[in-house]
């Protein structure tokens, strides 16, 4: 029987097998193998190097990406990220990115209108404080932590309770993240790993704290993040139609470790973002908060963690009601027919105005900027690819609470649950011509 080296496996002890154990010399069978493996261990690690830090973000904070860019027929080019650094705003005149194509007056306007914050303008002293404080709170990639302090500066053990961001979990998560995710999502979760800029849609930037495909009830509370289940589901199923593959062969333990680590990155990144936006003034990036920068960062971290904690509460999840009938039961064909036809009407209705964004059922939808400043496109609903999952309940959640950052608003308030089900049924039928005929709807060729 072979030894299992793959990180996709669990050993008898339930511990994930990672590359760390790979380097253990006693897996060898041949004497030469053991000897050379011993030699080989020198200089090999599966963890991040001890001196590697997260560092401060160098790219500007995009405050409202959707306002910055016009609609476009084509997506971003590979090899380009939205905005690398504000310095480029002046130098990269010929770049193809719409932000750079905007004339310099308009670019200045972005800064003046406070759509973009330039982190490069923060003074060296402030940067130092920020860096030290963040490291105190969140550690380094090699030993990540979420060490929240209370108002008096004492460690607050309870702040992150229930988020599963303890040091051991995060350490495991960090190793897994380095192997599986770093490549696209980058060390700090900024979506700027070595291949990050070559994939489109660009990998998610966790630092903004916005997660698209969630089941938290944003109709009630817009500040909610995502539940662990949402992140785990995205890891397992991948995101169809993007470069995010499925990791469903990782063990449950590994998935949970990764979820914890992603939460850690997101909390850390969002703390930083909130500090940049809240503690400084827009024009000169000079400190304006009277409590002092360090305290501001602590404050920010507390509120971010609080939002994450709230998102985990079962009460804040979308309550998906039962559909009035079982649409898969052959006996209910007539009910389904009526439901789909109602859904079609709703789709074209002024109230929802679905057709306003999903032009021609999404077939003619243009690219629009999202909150990260990247381009995304209202889904082409005739293709049958749903990024957030294809279950009925997934579609329900998308319509109910919207897709954060993308411009898809929550409709949970305007629509009754039955109406949402009608829409879901319609959307499910839409990609299949044969099915459309069966339920008596027609869309142009």
């Amino acid at each position: 029987m072979r030894k299992a080296f793959s990180p996709t496996l669990q050993t008898h002890a339930g511990q994930p097998v990672t590359f760390g154990s790979l380097m253990h010399p006693f897996h060898g069978r041949s004497a030469v193998g053991i000897l050379l493996a011993c030699l080989a261990v020198v200089g090999c690690e599966t963890q991040y190097g001890p001196e590697r830090t997260y560092g401060l973000r160098k790219d500007p904070v995009i405050k409202n990406g959707q306002k910055m860019m016009e609609e476009r027929p084509l997506p971003d080019r590979p090899g380009q990220l939205p905005i690398a650094s504000i310095k480029d705003l002046t130098e990269q005149e010929d770049s193809d990115h719409p932000f750079y194509r905007a004339d310099s007056a308009k670019r200045k306007e972005f800064l003046v209108q406070d759509l973009v914050r330039d982190t490069g303008l923060i003074s060296a002293d402030d940067r130092k404080i920020m860096e030290e404080t963040l490291e105190k709170l969140f550690g380094k990639p090699r030993d990540p932590k979420v060490a929240i302090t209370d108002k008096d500066g004492n460690p607050d053990e309870k702040a992150a309770e229930g988020l599963q961001v303890d040091v051991t979990t995060l350490a495991r998560g960090s190793v897994l993240y380095r192997e599986h995710c770093l490549h696209c999502h980058g060390i700090t979760g900024d979506g700027r790993g070595p291949t990050g800029k070559w994939v489109n849609p660009h990998p998610r930037d966790f630092r903004s704290g916005l997660f698209k495909f969630t089941t938290v009830n944003r109709v009630e509370k817009a500040s909610l993040k995502a539940s662990r289940g949402d992140l785990a589901r995205t890891l397992r199923q991948g995101v169809e139609g993007t470069a995010m593959p499925s990791f469903n062969l990782l063990s449950e333990q590994n998935i949970q470790d990764l979820v914890s680590y992603v939460m850690h990155l997101s909390i850390r990144g969002e703390t930083e973002v909130r500090t940049v936006l809240g503690a400084f003034d827009a024009a000169k990036m000079e400190m304006v908060d009277e409590d002092g920068l360090e305290e501001y960062i602590n404050k920010a971290s507390r509120s971010v963690v609080k939002a994450w904690k709230e998102s985990q509460a079962a009460a804040n999840a979308i309550q998906v009601p039962t559909m009035a009938f079982d649409p898969n039961d052959i006996a209910n064909v007539e009910k389904l027919k009526e439901s789909v036809q109602r859904g079609k009407k709703l789709f074209e209705d002024k109230k929802t105005n679905c057709n306003g964004c999903h032009v021609n059922y999404g077939r003619q939808a243009p690219y629009k900027a999202d909150d990260w400043g990247t381009l995304s496109r209202p889904r082409n609903l005739t293709q049958g690819i749903f990024r957030g999952g294809r279950r009925d309940s997934d579609l329900y959640a998308r319509i109910h609470s919207g897709i954060v950052g993308s411009g898809m608003n929550p409709f949970g308030k305007d629509l009754k649950s039955d109406e949402i089900w009608d829409l879901v049924n319609f959307v499910r039928v839409l990609p299949y011509p044969e099915m459309r005929k069966n339920v008596g709807i027609e869309i142009p060729e």
Binding site: N360, R363, Q364, N380, P444, E445
Partner: protein
């Protein structure tokens, strides 16, 4: 260790050919392989995938005119004949006549390229270029097609492009209907080319039996769907493009002895070898066209 001279083996080894001529033949072998690969690819792509319901474009669909191609073939054959004459006159030491026939060859080569340029222009005008042709009109591509046609119709109505007055009404009508978002991409295509010429694969679900704008004015600059159009354009430009490059190379080769004749002090019978090699090359270029013409224009 000493040997008498009469023991020497035969002095000249190898073939009774000058090195240059041998090398030219070898070069032509490589060229044959090159064009074989090109033509073979074309035949495989063309015959391997098309079906009765989704046929390869006819010459008419892609603005190929048979008689122009035929005339060009004649031009090239004639020029090949003149090279033979040029070589003949150099051989019998009449360099003046030789140079004259070389000049004629050169001129005919230029004529060939000129005609080719005219043919290319009509492709460029109608957007029959690799990657630019609209093929099957289902999916998002269909709506790009509608947008494109709308733009072209607007240009016509605005007077930027001229169409026959017969077609003007149809153009205006189509533009309003597109603006009102009444037509599906396939219907737009039907209105452009006319029901008779719509390919089965692009037939709308309810054909209208209309006369197309292109039937009224075949030169109207409006895009239309050509199934396999991108592949056709890819193959066409690859094959004729490389052939044209070879013709161009041939013209340069023929220019050399002419320059020598008029500037460098006159041609000599020894130059016959050069002209013979150039002629071999020219015959090859000619033969390639003789393959290309029926494959592209007639089959």
């Amino acid at each position: 260790m000493s040997h008498a001279v009469h023991d020497e083996p035969g002095l000249k080894m190898g073939m009774p050919l000058p090195n240059g001529k041998l090398a030219m033949w070898l070069f032509l072998v490589t060229e044959i392989m090159f064009f074989t690969a090109l033509i073979g690819t074309y035949m495989i792509l063309r015959n391997g995938q098309t079906s009765a319901g989704n046929p390869w474009p006819q010459p008419h669909d892609v603005h190929l005119v048979e008689w122009i191609g035929a005339a060009n073939t004649f031009v090239l054959i004639l020029s090949s004949f003149f090279v033979v004459l040029a070589h003949h006159y150099l051989h019998i030491n009449q360099p003046g006549k030789g140079a004259a026939y070389l000049g004629l060859t050169l001129v005919l080569g230029c004529v060939f390229l000129g005609v080719k340029a005219i043919e290319y222009k009509s492709k460029f005008e109608h957007g029959i270029l690799p990657g630019r042709v609209f093929e099957k009109l289902d999916g998002p591509r269909g709506y790009e097609y509608v947008a494109k046609v709308k733009e072209q119709l607007k240009d016509i109505v605005d007077g930027k492009h001229h169409v026959d007055s017969k077609a003007m009404d149809a153009v205006k009508q189509l533009l309003t209907e597109i603006t009102d978002n009444k037509l599906s991409p396939k219907q737009v295509n039907e209105r452009v080319v006319g029901t008779k010429h719509v390919k089965p694969v692009d037939m709308p679900s309810n054909p209208q039996n209309v006369t197309g704008i292109l039937e009224l004015d075949s030169h109207a600059p409006i895009s239309y769907s050509i199934p396999w159009g991108n592949l056709w354009a890819s193959c066409y430009f690859a094959m004729t493009g490389f052939h044209a490059l070879h013709v161009l190379g041939g013209l340069v080769i023929f220019a050399a002895p002419l320059v020598k004749h008029f500037i460098g002090g006159g041609l000599k019978p020894e130059d016959g070898l050069f002209v013979e090699n150039a002629g071999l090359y020219w015959h090859f270029v000619d033969i390639v066209w003789i393959f290309l013409f029926p494959l592209l224009y007639l089959v």
